[in-house]
């Protein structure tokens, strides 16, 4: 039997066992997880629907913006998929124990690489599904489209996911095989990332404004136009779906075939490159542990700096920091997190939010509080909740140590809260500075960030202890269980409960005042100067 078929049969058996396990789980657990998933998608649906309604309110230009927004949306999803698949390919292909197992079986490298490419793409695409379903549903609802729109979206989504995931796999193969090693390269990479993150903060190009409407659209459209490059897969996907929906079947089919053709070509490239480079790359990864000469102590300077702490707490903190920094799976995900945040903050200056009228800027400040709080919840769910479970088989060392469980838990909380406070207050200070808000609003924003950071860190540490899973070494598996889902749901609930009372007054004022602002009036009719721009 061909290895790929055998592996596919094995996976389908594992899936059917998973269904069996789910049937044995408590009904409450299943209902809770399902309700959370549906609630999340419902929330996205409402947000997307609101966005489409807002665009409709802009009048004639909404057609142009919507078309480009589709392309921009798929660009974002594609970028997210490719980035995510770099990390997932690294863990499933190069760090998985299954790879070692399959390499001792009569499985050829081509089949192994193909299997792992498909597996990592599938694992990376769940977030895509969570966004594309409500997006499609909202557009269908808003435009009164039939079921066909969903069918066309599904037909394009599969090759699009495989294409973008494939880009991530290809980049991972190249990086693991050829990326230079050594401290100098690492520092250079960090410096490049910092430069990319800081660049938008330093850029400042004054713009002359005719009115607020042309300002927003003139800032928005070039960004959207950049996402609509005719050679980009996101553009083929967006154009293809909209063409088929509009009855232009030949044009839609052309885009679909272009997408599928490129996806197949990329799959061949992955197989070709994988067959030639995988084994050498794998040797590099598996041999690096023996070849690397490390200092006996990582961050040795930190130990004297933490002398003021009790010895057991200091020991646990140092151990956790060192273990985190030595685990590429952990810090690479943190790096991607911060990379996305850098893009987010870069957009403040790119779109010149700081030059908007006060009413718009205040709204963006509230939305920013919401964004930073969401980041805190995500960070806590991903890194704080599983930290106790990740002690794994070495938990007995802590358990037998002459220190109480209360102190262990307190140490985990202190470390998590400190790290998250550092991130959240920096983010909030940066955002309020870039938006040039007044000191009062700045103080409120930073105060909210501090409160949510401490409470969410405490919640995640506590729930991590209640839903302890010492058998599971994979942090993603730990957070996707019942405990992890409950932690995310409660964190988001806590966040909303903290922000909504604060934000509702601001948004109410905005809605009342924005009815009379030039932007809403100005954009409700097509503007000749804007429409003639590309």
């Amino acid at each position: 039997m061909p290895p790929l078929t055998a592996l596919w049969i094995k996976d389908s058996r594992a899936m059917s066992n998973l269904r069996r396990i789910l049937r044995q789980e408590s009904v409450f657990k299943l209902i809770f997880i399902l309700a959370f998933a549906m609630g999340l998608m419902g929330g996205f649906f409402v947000l997307f629907l609101d966005a489409f309604r807002f665009l409709s309110g802009l009048g004639g230009v909404s057609f142009l913006i919507t078309r480009r927004l589709f392309s921009f949306f798929y660009l974002g999803l594609g970028g997210m998929l490719a980035l995510s698949n770099i990390v997932t390919t690294y863990s499933t292909l190069f760090r998985s124990r299954e790879t070692s197992f399959l390499l001792t079986a009569p499985v050829d490298i081509r089949s192994l690489v193909t299997y792992k490419y498909l597996e990592s793409t599938l694992l990376s695409s769940w977030a895509f599904l969570f966004l594309i379903i409500p997006f499609t549903a909202a557009y269908t609802w808003h435009e009164h489209l039939g079921l066909l729109f969903a069918v066309w979206t599904a037909a394009f989504a599969l090759p699009f996911v495989l294409l973008c995931g494939g880009i991530g796999t290809l980049l991972a193969l190249v990086a693991v095989r050829w990326a230079p090693r050594g401290r100098l390269f690492r520092w250079l990479a960090v410096a490049c990332l910092l430069a990319i993150a800081i660049r938008p903060l330093l850029q400042f190009r004054p713009v002359s404004l005719q009115d607020q409407a042309s300002f927003v659209l003139n800032r928005l459209l070039p960004g959207l136009q950049a996402a609509s490059h005719p050679m980009a897969p996101n553009q083929w996907t967006a154009e293809g779906i909209l063409s088929l929906t509009g009855g232009e079947y030949a044009r839609g089919a052309m885009f679909w075939l272009t997408l599928v053709g490129n996806m197949l070509l990329l799959s061949l490239a992955i197989q070709w490159l994988g067959t030639r480079t995988f084994f050498s790359a794998w040797q590099r990864v598996t041999g690096e542990g023996s070849a690397t000469r490390r200092p006996p102590e990582l961050l040795g300077w930190l130990e004297p700096a933490l002398r003021f702490l009790p010895h057991d707490i200091r020991g646990m903190i140092l151990k956790d920091i060192r273990a985190f920094l030595r685990d590429p799976l952990q810090w690479s995900q943190a790096l991607i997190f911060f990379g996305l945040l850098a893009i987010y903050f870069g957009s403040f200056r790119t779109f010149r939010y700081d030059e908007l009228p006060d009413i718009w800027r205040n709204l963006i400040v509230f939305l920013n509080i919401f964004s930073v709080a969401s980041v805190i919840c995500s960070l806590a769910s991903r890194f704080v909740f599983p930290q106790l479970s990740l002690e794994g088989h070495s938990f007995w060392i802590l358990g037998l140590a002459p220190t109480g469980m209360r102190r262990i838990l307190m140490t985990k909380f202190l470390l998590a809260a400190t790290a998250i406070l550092l991130v959240s207050t920096t983010l909030m200070a940066l955002a309020t500075w870039m938006l040039q808000v007044g000191p009062g609003l700045k103080a409120i924003s930073i105060g909210v960030a501090i409160t949510i950071s401490i409470s969410v860190s405490a919640l995640s540490t506590g729930l991590g202890a209640i839903f302890l899973d010492l058998k599971q070494p994979n942090p993603v598996a730990i957070i996707s269980g019942f405990g992890g889902t409950m932690n995310l749901a409660l964190s988001l609930g806590l966040m909303l409960a903290s922000i909504i009372p604060l934000a509702s007054s601001g948004i109410g004022t905005f809605k009342a005042e924005s009815r009379t602002t030039p932007l809403s009036r100005g954009t409700s009719r097509p503007q000749s100067g804007f429409c003639s721009s590309p």
Binding site: M1, I9, K10, F101, D108, Q283, T286, G287, S290, A291
Partner: protein, 257 residues
Amino acid sequence: MIHVQALDKSYGTVHAVRNLSFDVPAGELFCFLGPNGAGKTTTIKMLTGLLRPDRGVIRIGGYDIATDPVAAKTLMGYIPDMPFLYEKLTPVEFLKFIADLYNIKEASTRRRIDDSLQSFGLGEARTSLIGDLSHGMRQRLLYIATFLHNPRVVFIDEPLIGLDPHSIRMIKDLLRQKVRDGMTILLTTHILALAEEIADRIGIISNGSLIALGHMNELRAQAGLEGRLEDIFLKLTTDEAGLSSPGGARRMTAPNI
């Protein structure tokens, strides 16, 4: 059946295996011994195709592992010291997967799986998930999986980890039986009594080099000792490490910790 010639492997500045050469004929149980860090696991990983040697040739059943890996792997089985098993499969499903990978005929698979599970005492566990099995049960399942396709060569890294006395006896008998049937087995272990009991020939590796090879009598002659394998091993590896004192092999004493 196993041909190793001038094998070399380095990790950076660490020379793990140096100019290693030996042959293991069909129907022999060969024990590969050595102190921690001597290069045993590196050698076994190169023999199974998991590591690429810097230099040298490895042939399994006549197939070069570097140029014809799939053909070589079809002939062999491997039991690592820390094995991987699919936690979300039942033992039957896992064994069927192995049968698919090694292209074992469908008709004989079911019967062989049933017989093996019964004889290894896993009949009751056939519907459990592997993730729910005890360590010893997983180890026994691994033996069934490894022998399912009737490999001609089997590599075993520490064969008795986590097994109870009954299972240890069963595994020892099984290995001897398989060798009598013509299978070639290369195993590494730190349990010297096991090597002495079941091995046809023994190779001792130290600092990446093969320092002794042969039957028990040949090793005794080489070490100049008439004792058990433990004494011979300690003498040879201590001499090789340059730790010998004028009074004879230096004995390690219990550390004062």
